[in-house]
Amino acid sequence: MSPPLAPPGWSRWLVPPAALSVHLSIGQAYAWSVFKPPLESALDLSGTQSALPFQLGIVMLGLSAAFGGTLVERNGPRWAMTIALICFSSGFLISALGAATEQYWLIVFGYGFVGGIGLGIGYISPVSTLIKWFPDRPGMATGIAIMGFGGGALIASPWSARMLDSFGDDPTGISLAFLVHGLTYAVFMSLGVLLVRVPRSEKPAGAAPGADAGPAADAGPGAAAGPGAAAGPAALQGVQVSARNAVRTPQFWCLWVVLCMNVTAGIGILEKAAPMITDFFADTSTPVSVSAAAGFVALLSAANMAGRIGWSSTSDLIGRKNIYRVYLGVGALMYLLISQFGDSSKPLFVVCALVILSFYGGGFATIPAYLKDLFGTYQVGAIHGRLLTAWSLAGVLGPLIVNWIADHQESAGKSGSSLYGLSFLIMIGLLVVGFVANELVRPVAARHHIPAPRESKESTDVQQRQQSA
């Protein structure tokens, strides 16, 4: 499948909704917990067993993003979104069959394995396209899409819960709910498949001087690029590094550490948010009720989502390195405040946790633009896919640290906020490691760049790769 070129006059403001239709759908993964209790009672499963589809899905997200990134770059965003649609929806349909026949392995295979491939390919599908359409605001553009991944759970969580209420939480009801999810997401994601376009002027700089890189980059919402712009703002300019070369650079691994540390620190709070706030204020005059703790978790989700668009857009103004200094440096400070004074002031605890979660979301959303700054737009989607393996490790590391330490402290007879003190100190250490890694990021050495496409032969080769791939 060749990448869908934008026709003359195509507006770049049609690309973010295309990306959002995919990310809002696959973000459903974070609402898997809604299905856990009904599955446990209907199919007689343990909590660990009912978490398997989600866990396999996240593992497959990391693997398919890492190994499928190059294919996504080669075949373009429409191909990637189609694959994501087919896999994500099929995952639900297979799960519906599994629930109807009470074959749990089909649910694990369907939602976790097949659906997980949809998660990974869908997650990276719009990234490089958005960066090419918004070379002036890459942080904002990728922030919008990746905010959608956070927003997907906000939609799916109440929607799935109401559906299960209506259909019932027996195998037939769960099967019907999976079926409706699969069909609805297929229709919803089709907007992305139909709308996504790549800019026409995706040519190496210098290959065709004065090529159709036009003023569309400055066009506002609702303003279609003019015919002169030929719907293409983004020529390949500046440093360009292939995905194969990028993983051989220290910059890639510095950013890998930065992402891993930032995500681990955020998950540390997110994973145990409800019991954490309850434990912190259990022995005070204002204990936190179960419903208030649920409200706290919801507020953290809002901070996570707002951070994705807010901080990522801010990075366009203050620079990528500086924004990660904020995420990691101020994040460590927030953890320090919670560990020292968190149990004495509920507002302080809540504000610090919200800031940490906004940095968690911001870290996810800003990383594609950081990659673009360092490696160019040439294969930024594939490089992003490889970097997401850091997420897979952090997804295991963060909950492991907090849960393991809390369990040990509890068995040692501790209670309240002292269950989490050591975890917070570890999180501060991890954020400092991430801060140092960010400081070590330097421009990529020239030997890793793809050859400058100014000579005629090279120019032709690169253009052919770009346009026929």
Partner: protein, 43 residues
């Protein structure tokens, strides 16, 4: 061929429709989120 024949079609209706397509479900999610988040202060 006149210049109006060659001008690209107006994309604004498509832009509005596509943003509504994603904005309405997201609005529903945010509404549910705000309802739940207020429990922190009232619950």
């Amino acid at each position: 061929m006149s210049s109006s024949d060659s001008s690209p079609p107006d994309r604004r209706p498509l832009i509005v429709l596509s943003w509504l397509w994603v904005g309405l479900p997201l609005g529903y999610g945010v509404y549910e989120l705000v309802r739940k988040a207020t429990q922190l202060f009232t619950g």
